[in-house]
Symmetry: C2
Subunit: 497 residues, 2 copies
Amino acid sequence: MPPSPYHQLEDRVRRFSALDDVAAILEWDLATMMPPGAADGRSDQVAALKAVRHGMLTAPEMGDLIAAATAETGLDRWQTANLREIKRKWAHATALDEALVTALSKAVSACEMAWRQARADADFATARPHLERLLGLIREVAAAKADALGLGAYDALLDEFEPGGRADEIDAVFRDLGDFLPGFLGQVLERQAAAPPARVPRGPFPIDRQRALAVRLMEVIGFDFDYGRLDVSHHPFCGGTVDDVRITTRYDEDDFTSGLMGVLHETGHALYERGLPREWRGCPVGEALSTSIHESQSLLLEMQVCRSRGFLGFAAPVMQEAFDGDGPAWDADNLYRHYTRVTPGYIRVDADEVTYPAHVILRYRLEKAMIAGDLMPADLPGAWNEGMEDLLGLTPPSDAEGCLQDVHWYDGAWGYFPTYTLGAMAAAQIFDAARRADPAIEPGITAGDFRPLFTWLGAAVHSKGALLSSRELLTEATGRPLDPEIFKTHLERRYLA
Amino acid sequence: MPPSPYHQLEDRVRRFSALDDVAAILEWDLATMMPPGAADGRSDQVAALKAVRHGMLTAPEMGDLIAAATAETGLDRWQTANLREIKRKWAHATALDEALVTALSKAVSACEMAWRQARADADFATARPHLERLLGLIREVAAAKADALGLGAYDALLDEFEPGGRADEIDAVFRDLGDFLPGFLGQVLERQAAAPPARVPRGPFPIDRQRALAVRLMEVIGFDFDYGRLDVSHHPFCGGTVDDVRITTRYDEDDFTSGLMGVLHETGHALYERGLPREWRGCPVGEALSTSIHESQSLLLEMQVCRSRGFLGFAAPVMQEAFDGDGPAWDADNLYRHYTRVTPGYIRVDADEVTYPAHVILRYRLEKAMIAGDLMPADLPGAWNEGMEDLLGLTPPSDAEGCLQDVHWYDGAWGYFPTYTLGAMAAAQIFDAARRADPAIEPGITAGDFRPLFTWLGAAVHSKGALLSSRELLTEATGRPLDPEIFKTHLERRYLA
C-alpha cells in the first residue's frame, strides 16, 4: 500500500527542510567565513537553492496532496497541526505569481543598496523612490496574500512571522503599553538620577578572554558545544540548524559587557531551537512557533534572567575572574546598575528594555499606515520624528538616526517589527509563570544552575514546536493570553522597587 | 525566439553547478567547522542536495536537449567541448539504475564503517565481506558504464576521474616507470647514505607562527585571500569553489616542515581553480580537466618548485625568520636535503617523490585485477605484500600498514589511484616545458617572484579548462603526450646529479 497523502506530504516537507538547513549553513558561512570575492558566486548558489526549494513547494502535486490529506481521517493532534502549517506555508508560497516574485526580488536588491548609501549620507531623498517602488510591490504582495489567506492586508504580511497574529490584538496591547511608557520612563529617569551612577569596568578586555567567558557562561546555561558553535560576525545572530546552532557575536576590546549580553540573548534563541520536538524535526510543526515566541526565549534569558540581580550575583565574580578585574566596578550591585541603565536614544538596537517598546510601537504604527496607504514614504521622515517626540521626547538629528536606521523596510521585511515587543511581553509572562510553577528556578539561577528553568521551559514551550498558536501556547503555559500587565509589573519591580 | 537546445542545456548546467558549489562549501564546513552532533543532520542535507542534483541531471528533458543540441550547427570550439562534457557527465549519471545507486550508497557506508574498525584492529577479515559486497557492486557499475560509454570496464570507472583515460596507455607508462624505479631507488639510497644527513629544525613551532608563515608564502606564490581561506582539518584538502577556494592543513608543533609543504601543495590546486576560464564558469568545459591534471598542478608547485634548491634558497630565510630559528638546520642546503630525503616505507601518504609511484603502481595493478575478476578480496593481503616486496623491498608488519591503509577502495573510489602518478609525471613534463618556454621562470622562483611561472601556466594549462583532453593539453603545452622519460630525468637530476 502506498503511503497516505498525509505521509507523502510529510516525506516531501522533510526534504524541503533539509534544503532549508543547507541555506541556513550558507547564510552563517556568508556572515562569518566567506571571503569577500565570493559574494557573486554565493548569491548564485543561494538563488539556485531558493529556486529549487520554491519549485518543490509550489509543484502542482503539492496542492493535490494537501487537498487529499485534508480529507484524510485519523490524523492525530500533531499531524493535524503539521498539515495546518504545511498548508499555511504553501499558501504563502503560491499566493504570489512569478512576475511579482521576480519584481519584488529586484526591488529589494535595489532598495537595500540605495538604503546603504542613503543611510551613510543621511539622505532619505535618494532612498525614497526605491522605497516607494518597493512599498508598492509589498502592498501587492499583501493584497495577494490577504486574498489567499482570507486575512486583512497587514495581517497577511504579519502571518509570515507571527502565524495567526492579528493587528487588532496588537493594537490593543500596544495602546496599553504606549499609554503606560512615557509616564513610567519619567519616573525611572528621575529615580536613576538620584541613585549612584554605574561604574563601567575598565578594559582593555582581550578577545580570547572575552570568548572564554562567553563560552563558560553559555555552557553553564546549558549550551552544548557538541551541537553548536560561537563565532564572530558584524551583526550578531543565532543561525544554523537544530543540531548545529551557530551563534555569532562581535568583540569590543573596550567593553565586554554589551557583547557578552548579546551572546546570552542568542543563547536563549539557541536553547529554544535545541529543545524543539525531536520526533518532528524536518516538519513545520516541529519548528519554532513564531518570531515573537523565538524572541520571547532570547529575551527571557537576556532580560528576565541574565540582567537580574540574582544572576549577576553569580556571574559578577565569574566576569571578574575572567579579566583579573579589580575594584568596585566588579561588584554585582554595580554590574546590575550598569545592566539595567535606562537611556532614551534614537537608535532601536542600542535601546534598553524600558525604551525599546517605544521604538517598536512607532515602527508598527508607521508600517501599518504605509501598508494601508495612509502614509506615503514622502511623509515618513516627518511622521517618524513626530512619533519619536511623542514617545521618547527626542527628535533625531538626521534621518540616519531616524527613519533610515533599520534595514527592515528597505529589504522587504514588513510586518516583522511588532514581534520584538510581543516577544518582550511574552518573555515576562512566561518567566513569571515559570518561577511560580517551580520555586527552584530562581535560586537555581542565583547559583548558576539553569536546569530547573530549562526543564520547565522545555516542557511548557520548547517541546511544543508549532503545535499550538501563540495565544494557545501562552494560555497553556501561563494561564492566560498575552497580558501587558505582567510586563508592566516586571518593569515596575525592576526599575522602581 | 526561445534559446537553442544548446543554450537551454547551458542554462541548466549552470544551475547544477551552483548546487555543486553549495555541496563543496558544506563539505568544507563538515571537515573544518561542524560540531560532532550535527553529523546526522548534515548527512540528510547532503543526501537531499544530491537527490535534487541527480534528479536535475537525469530528468527526461536532458536526454532530448542533448540529442537536439548535438544536431545543432554553428557551435564554436568551446561550446562543442562543453556539449561533449555535458554528455559525458549525463552518460555517467544515467548509466546506473536507481536500485544500483541505492545499493551502492548503502554498501559504501557499511564498508567504510567496517574499514575504520578493521584498520584500527589491523584485521582485514572483518572488512573482507564488506569489500566483497562493494566490489561486486562496483563491477556492476563498471559493466553498466562500460555499456553506456562504449569502454572497457576499468576504463569506464577511470573515465569519471580521467576523462578519455585508458588503461592500456597507463599500463605502458607504469611498466616503464616500474622497470626504472627499483634500480634507481637503490642508487639514490646509496648516494644519500654517503652524504651528510639532513638536520631537522627543532621546535616547538607555535601554531600561530606556522599559520602566519603559510599565509605569507601562499601570498608570495599568488594566493589571493579575497578569494579563499586557510583553515584546519584532520585531512588537508583544497575545496570550496573557484571564487572561494578553501585550503585546509593541520599543524604539528614539533615539525612545521611537512604541514607547510602540504599547504603549498594545496596552493597548487587552488591556483589551478582560480585560473580556470572565467567566461565558462558553471559549465563543465570551464571546470578542471581531470584528476591527474589537477594533481599535476599541486605537484608542480610542491615537487618541482617548492622542494627545489632554488625555491628553498628564497624560502629558508623566511622560515628562519618566522620562528626566530638559529643554527645550521636553517641553511637552504640543509632544508633542501631534508625536503628531498628518500625513505622507502609502508605508507603511501608519507611517501617521498621517488617511492610514491611504487605505491600507486601496486594499487593500480591490484584494482585492475579485482575489477577484471582476476583477484578476489580474500587474496588481496597476500597480493599486496608480494607487490610491496617486489617494488620497494618491504613487507608490511600488518594489513593496517598494508591493504587497509587507504580509504579509497572501501569508500567506493575505484579507478582513482593512477591519477596520482599520472599527475606527478605531467607535473615534471609541464614544468620542464615552462622553464624552457620562459627563462624568467626559474630565476623568478629563486627570487620569490612567481608571476612568470603562473603567467605561463595560466595560458598553457589553467585557462584551457576542460577544452582539450589530457593528451591534447599536454601535447599543446609541452610538445608531446605524457612521456615518463621527463619524470625520470627530473628524478635523476635531483637525486643523482
